[in-house]
């Protein structure tokens, strides 16, 4: 196995000195090769992650493996794929064979067989982070978005993103998938890492625009008629995420003028402002509701903003409307529970908070609210349990930078 690195990195056009400020393109073959090589590197040079391969190799099979390896080294990919296919048929418990087969197939764009080969590998090596990540990238290409997100995240949890460029590739795909699956705020959080590091390109800007506009699409799926909206939104949001709030403010004002009735534009600006200036965010959410009165998320954020002003009575109608429209939205149940507590209906408030906890058991805000609610209602032990849970959840997310 010692020569694998040399072989792999010697026979392709690897471009390690490419400008780090350009993000990966999901369509670009060199980047696909780059993904492959990085993951391969991790797969074969971090043995601590991988239990020792268990497949027994018969003496006559050594010839087949040698031929497959030679074909791969000579960049004769079709023949290498054929030989590795024969090798794993002969010995299905040979994990390295499945890895080479899957990764080579991924490199040629044969995503379905690549995915299947990697599944075989994962059956043999269940803690193979890079294999999960690469299978996730295959599933991304085949349109199995939910599985892709799960595999990429699992791969990351097993260490597939421990190297900077690897992390960039996987996080970018994870954010694309979050957007495609409707988890827009998670996507924006991931894109903020790219923006803070000054990484940019038109595809990333479009991807940020899609997450900001809450459109469950991939950049490649944006129609011509929406491209200017998506890229202008992405550009404004990118500026904000990169820390240039003054320039972002100008870009958003321009955006509001160009697209005065487009939903989610004001919501996006409000969402971005909220973390540092909830007072400035509140009018944006209220403006959003004028454009899109059925936007339950805008109702939630308006209610939350009003609760921060200790205006529970004003928050209540927004919270009620959000919970009516989206009863399964934990944040809607949360703001309704909070608003009811603030307006004196502690008992009903607790019911909604408990509903929110049922929907999303690890939501810190829900546990914080429940701790207070139980304490106010004299349920001392329940309050204590919620306090302990809240402390545990808060520890796992790390300290905020504005330490007092």
């Amino acid at each position: 196995m010692g020569g694998v690195k040399q072989v792999l990195f010697g026979d392709v056009n690897f471009r390690p000195k490419e400008d780090a400020r350009s993000v990966v393109s999901i369509k670009s073959r060199p980047w696909r090769v780059c993904v492959l090589l990085i993951l391969a590197f991790f797969a074969f040079f971090t043995p601590a992650w991988f239990p020792k391969a268990t497949g027994q190799i018969a003496p006559r099979q050594n010839d087949l493996i040698a031929q497959a390896s030679a074909a791969r080294m000579q960049n004769d990919i079709p023949r290498a794929i054929e030989l590795y296919s024969r090798a794993v048929q002969a010995n299905p418990k040979w994990p390295d064979g499945w890895w080479f087969l899957g990764s080579l197939q991924y490199g040629t764009g044969a995503y379905v067989p690549a995915r299947d080969a990697l599944s075989h590998y994962i059956e043999l090596i269940p803690k193979g982070g890079p294999a999960f990540a690469l299978r996730g990238l295959c599933e991304f290409e085949t349109g199995e978005y939910t599985q892709a997100l799960g595999d990429i995240q699992h791969g990351i949890s097993l260490g597939a993103a421990n190297e900077a460029r690897n992390e960039q590739i996987l996080r970018y795909h994870e954010a694309l998938l979050q957007t495609r699956l409707g988890n827009y705020t998670s996507a924006l959080k991931m894109y903020s890492i790219f923006a803070k590091n000054g990484i940019t390109n038109p595809e990333l800007i479009a991807a940020i625009g899609l997450a900001g506009l809450r459109m469950p699409l991939l950049p490649k799926d944006v129609g011509m008629e929406q491209q200017s909206l998506v890229s202008a939104t992405g550009d404004a949001a990118y500026r904000f995420l990169a820390g240039d709030e003054a320039s972002a403010a100008r870009a958003f004002q321009e955006l509001f003028q160009r697209f005065p009735t487009t939903p989610n534009v004001h919501f996006l600006y409000g969402y971005l402002l909220f973390a540092t200036d909830p007072d400035a965010a509140l009018p944006e959410f209220q403006q959003e509701l004028k454009i899109a009165p059925a936007n339950a998320d805008a109702d939630v954020m308006t209610a939350w903003g009003l609760l921060l002003h200790n205006s529970g009575a004003e928050a209540l109608p927004y919270a009620q409307r959000a919970a009516e429209q989206k009863p399964a939205l934990p944040s809607a149940q949360l703001v309704l529970g909070r608003s009811l507590m603030e307006t004196g209906d502690l008992k009903e408030g607790m019911l909604h908070l408990e509903r929110a906890r049922q929907i999303e058991p690890n939501n810190l805000e829900v546990h914080l609210a429940l701790a207070t609610a139980y304490s106010k209602s004299g349920r001392k032990e329940d309050a204590r349990c919620e306090r302990i849970l809240s402390l545990q959840l808060s520890s796992s997310k790390g300290a905020t930078p504005d330490h007092p």
Binding site: A313, E342, L368, T372, K376, S377, R387, S394, H403
Partner: protein, 376 residues
């Protein structure tokens, strides 16, 4: 408890009194209007003294408490009179705080260049940090005065900063919304409807700060309409609500957990520490901020003062003789097997902040085991 009632208390940080009405009050009080600054300086004392006509026990001592003097104008700051020249050196930078007449200059030099700025606001009564304006931005001084060393040291929380040049060494530029928090807690009337307006502030925590509507009530009382205009009585709040109320400035349990401020630094945030105590009960009035502390008076520093507060729940049969019948009837917690005096010295140990310059009693009431780490 009606929660809208609580909301009206919380709105206290948003002042109800307009500048015009403040002037009206001052005219009624026969305050000489020889300059807005002087008027504003005197407003706190006069408003409080006016409140003291009816509420002497509260409004009388309150203006001189650490909260009452939570912020001071530089020309009314006793520290600058008693310490006209303070200096401190950290690395290549030397800081001086020099008072001449009514002006106090905050300066920092690297030996070749010096930046001097007038101190505009002093935060704190004993320990002090200063705020000043530079190029349209507000800055917190890089150094603060600490009574424990009777001198300057790096401001708490700023020791992690490593200034790369003289401009950075001056101080920490406040984040966008930070001034609202600073002035919102250390002064009265500076924040209205979420907006900061420094023209309207009164230094320190005045009656109006906690009792929203107090100034209007005072005006009404001069017109013979005292009854029916009084602000809501805070004593009606539950212990949990009191913690939330005081925690608006002393930090609530939720704020600290949400921000994950861990370690000894959070010993300053008493509502958070108290809520983590095993004995804390949000509905029991025997364990709340105001069960032990009267916010209108200076903090009592004798440990023995608090014994009765602890014994309200933890009294043994022998100790019951000195307690009221009501307390005896309701004592329901285990008595201490070691002592019945100076409870806080063991169960609320003193904890130093990481910079070693300030010490606080830990409000997480507990049985402290030798060598046990700080339960953060």
């Amino acid at each position: 408890m009606n929660e809208s009632f609580l909301s009206s208390f919380r709105a206290a940080r948003a002042p109800r009194l307009t500048t015009l009405r403040l002037f009206l009050v001052l005219v009624l009080l026969d305050v000489p209007l020889d300059g807005v600054h002087l008027v504003a300086q005197q407003a706190q004392t006069n408003a409080a003294s006016s409140c003291a006509r009816c509420h002497a026990a509260q409004a009388g001592p309150q203006p001189d408490t650490p909260m009452g003097r939570g912020m001071q104008w530089p020309d009314a700051n006793p520290l600058f009179k008693s310490h006209p020249q303070l200096s401190f050196r950290k690395g290549p930078y030397t800081y001086t705080v020099e008072t001449k007449g009514n002006q106090t200059l905050y300066s920092v030099t690297d030996g070749t260049r010096t930046i001097s700025l007038p101190i505009q606001w002093s935060f704190g009564k004993g320990g002090q940090t200063w705020l000043f304006e530079r190029d349209g931005n507000l800055y917190e001084s890089m150094v603060s005065y600490y009574p424990s060393i009777d001198g300057l040291e790096i401001t708490t929380g700023d020791s992690v900063l490593t200034p790369q040049n003289l401009d950075e060494a001056v101080g920490r530029k406040l984040r966008k919304t930070e001034p609202k928090d600073c002035f919102g807690c250390h002064s009265t009337g500076a924040v209205s409807m979420g907006k900061l307006d420094l023209e309207k502030l009164e230094p320190g925590v005045t009656c109006e700060h906690c009792h929203a509507g107090a100034n209007a009530h005072m005006v009404a009382s001069f017109q013979g309409e005292a009854y029916g205009t009084a602000p809501p009585d805070l004593k009606g709040l539950s212990s949990e609500d009191i913690s939330t109320f005081c925690g608006q400035c002393h930090r609530t349990w939720e704020m600290v957990v949400r921000s994950n401020w861990r370690g000894e630094i959070n010993v300053r945030f008493q509502p958070y520490r108290l809520a983590n105590s095993k004995c804390f009960d949000g509905t029991d009035p025997r364990i709340s901020c105001i069960a032990c502390h009267d916010p209108h008076k200076d903090l009592v520093r004798e440990d023995s003062f608090y014994d009765a507060k602890c014994l309200a729940c933890h009294a043994s049969r022998d100790e019951s003789a000195n307690l009221s019948a009501h307390t005896v009837a309701h004592r329901d917690a285990k008595p201490c097997t070691v002592a019945s005096a100076s409870c806080v010295s063991c169960h609320m140990p003193k904890v130093k902040l990481p910079n070693g310059l300030m010490t606080f009693h830990d409000h997480e009431i507990r049985i402290v085991k030798p060598g046990a780490p700080y339960p953060d």
